[in-house]
Amino acid sequence: MPASTLRDDLPLPDNTELDVVRHYTRLSQRTFGIDLGFYPLGSCTMKYNPRINDALANLREFAELHPFVPDELAQGALQVMHELERSFCSLFGMAAFSLNPAAGAQAELAALLIAKKYFKDRGETKRDKVIVPDTAHGTNPASATMAGFTVVSVKSDARGRVDPAEIRAVLGADAAVCMMTNPNTLGLFEERIHEIADAVHEAGGLMYYDGANANALMGNTRPGDMGFDLMHLNTHKTFTIPHGGGGAGHGPLGVAPHLVEYLPTPYVVRDADRYRLDFDRPKSIGPVRSFWSNFAHAVRALAYLYANGAEGLANVSQYAVLNANYLRVKIAEFLETPYPEVCRHEFVASAQSLKKKTGVRALDIAKALLDRGFMAPTVYFPLIVPECLMIEPTETESKETLDEFVAALREIVAAAQSDPRELFDAPVTTVVGRVDETRAARQPDLRWRPPLPPET
């Protein structure tokens, strides 16, 4: 190797294994996970992550399998993917799923690229608009831009739903895809979804289902039956895959029959009792990642599927909805709930009038919850609800835990009305207090730098 191609120094520290073990054990102790307490983060479905799933994903024959191993020597892995795919098709009413996308946002992008190609093949190249409700997750409009579409935002009505008339008003020959979440991010079921789907289809557009909230409807209703042509699922939400501090995720992409041939490559195909990766799919949008799937997560999802069966999954959604409604009515006793009706797996509360009276904001409530041993809900989202607290308890939490959470929140609201100073200072029991975010953004310090050598 010529010296000019080599590097002279490698400025990394040398550590003992003991130091490394102590350091990362300490860091873990400064991190809050589901394993430590209630994690009511709306739209994130922070349910218990069963340990059997990890044990199986870590089996040597899965963990050490190279992605370029010939298909005939990877039959078990391919069968895992195929079986999971077929089960998803049945559960969500789709013709096929691709397990390729690494997360929900990547599935959104892949779906929009499919739509683009589909319209191009039909000679409808003028379709450049993606319709997104104002309650949508931020990834929806961001994915639309990445796929080269223009975003049209649609306002929700007073009941927190998308009004079919509003959709019709923006539909035209330029409409490509309408992206919807159902139940939406307010936790409300869009009961006129069929009407919306019919209108979009009549205008020649496609319907996309953002599956972030799929935990609300398993075994009760299916996106396919609602009229969706494309959908993603976040198995790192609905199917108990650990979030790991922000990934890796897993975003299976489902499609209706007319879009199957556009799915990303490769696609797992079953020929009699043999499975293979099919790369030869001329209409495919192409691959979306280096290799085939976040495969270890497919193993976890399959284990979860086996643990529940069809009936168990229906129960999962029912208990998720029961827990959310129970929390909703209990919290409504002392905090505004802007949409006071039966919700699905999550709901929103608002600190707007509390803030007017006491100066205490959603952020202060969130921080005060940290002091009481709970993770905070999602705050300031969806954007249409001022001082929003978006709460998703999930089905794996007991009534006792929910009651403790309600008691903590009740105490915080009472404190806001009597002496809010404690809340403005919160959290005080955590390893650090409120972090100076302005300084972090104005004087970015994004890495450690080695000290400069002393001048000679």
């Binding site: 490698l10 991190t31 394993d35 990547q106 979030h243 990934g247 209990k330 794996t396």
Partner: protein, 452 residues
């Protein structure tokens, strides 16, 4: 089976809500009620789940063969301390660290990851991770498109073919044209063709890879990059084998402004292709175009050091359709694994592993040559190289497989002109016995033609 509700709980909760049954909460319109019987296996007890999935695992017989596979996914040694630490429930079951005060540990680990990637690449700043190496390239290309306002991109044919394919998928969405730089006869990027291309068109960026897909070290330096920079295109270095960063001159030293890479080699299991962990590192001037999460060091209200997600105005949850990327969930846990790997190995360990990879792959190359097989190229390589077996590579690989060996990658899959060539990889885990076994089998197969 993971729900804790007793009947008494359910009754009390329904009463509080003021409904008779859970069904009353579901409120599915009649026409949307699920009527089909779901085609899903019935629930199994845990011991049967284990048994059933273990049986599937056993069908992955590929793990029992001697393997010389690489090409963007590498078999490296991972110290058990990694799993012991990374699989701690606090890390595993945390969400993206939005609430900084209860996420200091994870935030600090990501800050360390950003630091390690900068130290390895010679860049100023690195993001908290992207999905994998291929999407790192695609997202980097988008950075250059946004930075220059140009809609044409140039990539070397020596860049990993899967990465190039993903680049095309992403660029199709933005109507960006992707041109390819041909290969030189020595298995590196044709630098003359590169200069011609950048002279002919205004490219947003140019992606080069060294060591490239063939394992070859391209001679990239300021001279090679001059034409690119003069024409205002942004040079991107692609890294598919991050271990090479420990041995080779940094991409920064030859003028790359963005490094798009894959860090699977740092302790992340092969796992049939994922999850892996991509990274994007760049110069300070591009920091506001970088996709995904960034962790910054700041202080808390008592002046104590504290970490927090920062520069979020780039991101989808704030900026929506004007975000730099749609990425939300990234690969935090894989990045944590890689960070712990780098902490455990340190400078000395990492250098040793890199040296062993150089040594083992040279031992393998010698054995291949001694078996009568020609090496396709003669330029320096890192831990993989191309052997020309002189007949369709698939035939030879099939015959090796019958002898319990995965001999490498059939390059004809991506390069018709190299249909008789095999990409062979050796790492620190490759033993002399395995190399001897391959040598003997290759001699028999190629020289004698047995089993073909």
């Amino acid at each position: 089976m993971y729900t804790p509700h007793t009947q008494a709980d359910i009754d009390a909760m329904l009463e509080a809500v003021g409904v008779e049954s859970i069904d009353a909460l579901l409120q599915v319109p009649e026409e949307l009620k699920l009527r089909a019987k779901l085609d899903i296996v019935p629930a199994l007890p845990e011991y049967q789940i284990r048994r059933r999935i273990e049986r599937l695992a056993k069908r992955n017989t590929g793990v029992d063969l001697v393997s010389f596979l690489g090409g963007g996914a590498y078999r490296h040694y991972a110290p058990p301390a990694i799993a012991a630490l990374a699989m701690r429930g606090e890390f595993l079951t945390a969400y993206t660290p939005y609430q900084a005060e209860v996420s200091q540990g994870y935030l600090q680990a990501i800050y360390e990851w950003q630091t390690y990637i900068c130290l390895l690449t010679g860049m100023d700043v690195a993001d908290a991770s992207v999905y994998d190496g291929a999407t790192a390239l695609a997202e980097s290309a988008i950075m250059t498109i946004n930075a220059t306002g140009r809609h044409r991109f140039l990539v070397s044919r020596a860049v990993h073919p899967n990465y190039r394919a993903v680049l095309r998928t992403y660029c199709d969405g933005l109507d960006v044209l992707v041109d390819e730089i041909p290969l030189a006869a020595d298995g590196t990027t044709d630098l003359r063709a590169l200069a011609d291309a950048v002279a002919s068109y205004e490219y947003a960026g140019v992606a080069l890879q060294s060591p490239n897909f063939f394992g070859n070290v391209d001679t990239l330096d300021a001279d090679a990059l001059r034409a690119v920079l003069e024409r205002g295109a942004v040079p991107i270095a692609v890294v598919a084998e991050a271990l090479a960063l420990a041995a080779l001159a940094t991409p920064s030293s030859w003028g790359a402004q963005i490094v798009a890479g894959e860090a699977q080699s740092f302790g992340v299991p092969l796992a049939y292709g994922g999850p892996y962990v991509g990274f994007i590192a760049t110069k300070d001037e591009h920091v506001r175009r970088i996709p995904g999460r960034l962790v910054g060091k700041s202080v808390d209200n008592a002046g104590r050091t504290a970490y927090v997600l920062t520069l979020q105005a780039r991101e989808q949850h704030i900026r929506r359709e004007r975000a730099t990327s749609n990425i939300c969930t990234n690969q935090a846990h894989c990045a944590l694994i890689a960070t712990i790997y780098l902490a455990l190995l340190g400078k000395t360990g990492l250098r040793d592993v890199a040296a062993l990879n150089l040594e083992r792959s040279r031992e393998l190359a010698t054995a291949v040559a001694n078996a009568g097989v020609r090496l396709a190229f003669s330029v320096p390589f890192f831990n993989e190289f191309v052997a020309d077996v002189g007949r369709p590579a698939g035939e030879v690989l099939g015959a090796l497989r019958a002898r319990g060996i995965l001999g490498g990658l059939d390059l004809g899959r991506w390069y018709p002109e190299y249909a008789t060539c095999v990409l062979m990889t050796a790492t620190e885990l490759t033993t002399s016995d395995e190399i001897a076994k391959l040598g003997a089998a290759l001699e028999e197969v190629v020289r004698v033609g047995a089993g073909i």
